[in-house]
Symmetry: C2
Subunit: 221 residues, 2 copies
DNA sequence: CCAATAATTTAGATTTGTCTAAATTTTGAT
DNA sequence: ATCAAAATTTAGACAAATCTAAATTATTGG
């Protein structure tokens, strides 16, 4: 019941695209995986034979329960390695993903679980995304874009929608980190820009586009 | 200039068999890699095209300088991961090898060198084998089998010739670890068995076969 | 030195994962 | 409802890595 690295990448991509219960299309997968649609069709047929998804030719695909469980365990490995790379090896945010993309394919429950224990059972990865536990369960975190958050309500920065080094550079410059407390002081209708306060630092300005890429959740009091 | 995982396994296997400057044979490789001789021939042709070895059909193969350097960097990754698994994740000796066999193929100098630094630049892996440095250089350690070591000369246990769980079980039972100080008190001609002293514990007996699989070096005073 | 045996290579096939080009199906606009 | 465009699948090819069976080359004992 093992999957190849290529199969695992497809499983993960389908899982991510399947968020809202719609069928995942061949083109969406080919874009996500940087392969051609014809290659996707081939792989979907193979994965269907392994009984981890429902594939209706021309109408897309959905992981079944077994496929979702497989996806969550791959994502668990990916995010635990990302946490290791950032926390222990001091890699930047934008460097961990490509390495975790390889490390995730080493499928040894013993390794994964020992790594988890060694890291202290982290709950979120360096991008703020939740890490599935040993059973594949993931806490449902309700996060919303800072752009859509209420005025004068303290929030915690809890993730990003974009993991590029460009975003990282900007966040570093503005000293915004995951876990930081933030509050919107003003929202300008003209361009959607925000004036925010981080901890007790002076007010700073964020563009609308930046605010759309920062995820926050209400601060628990 | 990258190699596939399969190619890297061949490179490493050739390197290990090439110890004494003799040509490495197709059969020896097929045995080491658990593949058929025909598959080895195919791969040797491919690696020859990549200019990392000298291959003379019917007469075996030898890594050239570039091939040896490649081998040492793979071995570096392998042993650093073994060290990580044993030291940080508390894996037993006999469990680290198969995992390192996969981890070694992630070829990122940045990852390897950060891991090295994080681990404190270890010199030997959990089996006592030396870890090549960032340049691929490996300290030449002169180790000899305990079976061949002199009487009443303190020595340091510095490796094993066999990495099986059976040997590990026996060494654990006898409390023999890598780095321990050991001294042969008597050698019995009848069966080659040894009476040895470990630290200041009571004398224990080792079979000839066991002593052939333990590597030692003279204790530096 | 030569024949039997051992070692090695060649030939041909298979699986995985990808591609391009062509055919087919679905969708959407009139 | 029809038809052009878009999405998808099929057909056929290829590279990597492996296998089995057959052919070839090297070795060695008498
Ligand atoms: Mn991956
Ligand atoms: Mn992540
Ligand atoms: Mn390997
Ligand atoms: Mn080792």
């Amino acid at each position: 019941m093992g999957f190849s690295a290529a199969e695992e990448n497809y499983i993960k991509a389908i899982w991510k695209l399947q968020k809202d219960n719609t069928n995942v299309t061949t083109n969406a997968l080919s874009e996500a995986l940087k392969t051609k649609p014809a290659s996707v069709t081939d792989m979907l047929k193979r994965l269907k034979d392994k009984n981890i998804l429902n594939y209706l030719p021309y109408y897309g695909v959905q992981l079944n329960a077994e496929g979702q469980q497989a996806a969550l365990l791959i994502i668990r490995r990916h995010r635990l390695w990302e946490y290791f790379l950032a926390e222990k090896l001091k890699f930047d945010w934008d460097a961990v993903h490509p390495l975790a993309e390889e490390l995730e394919h080493i499928n040894s429950p013993e390794l994964t679980n020992r790594l988890d224990a060694y890291l202290g059972y982290p709950q979120i990865d360096p991008h703020g995304d939740p890490i599935p536990n040993i059973k594949g369960q993931m806490p449902v975190t309700t996060r919303i874009a800072l752009a859509d958050y209420a005025l004068n309500q303290p929030a915690v920065v809890s993730g990003v929608l974009n993991q590029s080094s460009e975003l990282l550079e900007l966040l570093k410059h503005k000293k915004i980190t995951i876990g930081a407390t933030i509050e919107i002081c003003r929202r300008f209708e003209f361009d959607g820009s925000l004036e925010i306060q981080l901890q007790d630092l002076p007010l700073i300005t964020l563009s609308s586009y930046l605010a759309q890429n920062i995820l926050v959740k209400p601060l628990q009091l």
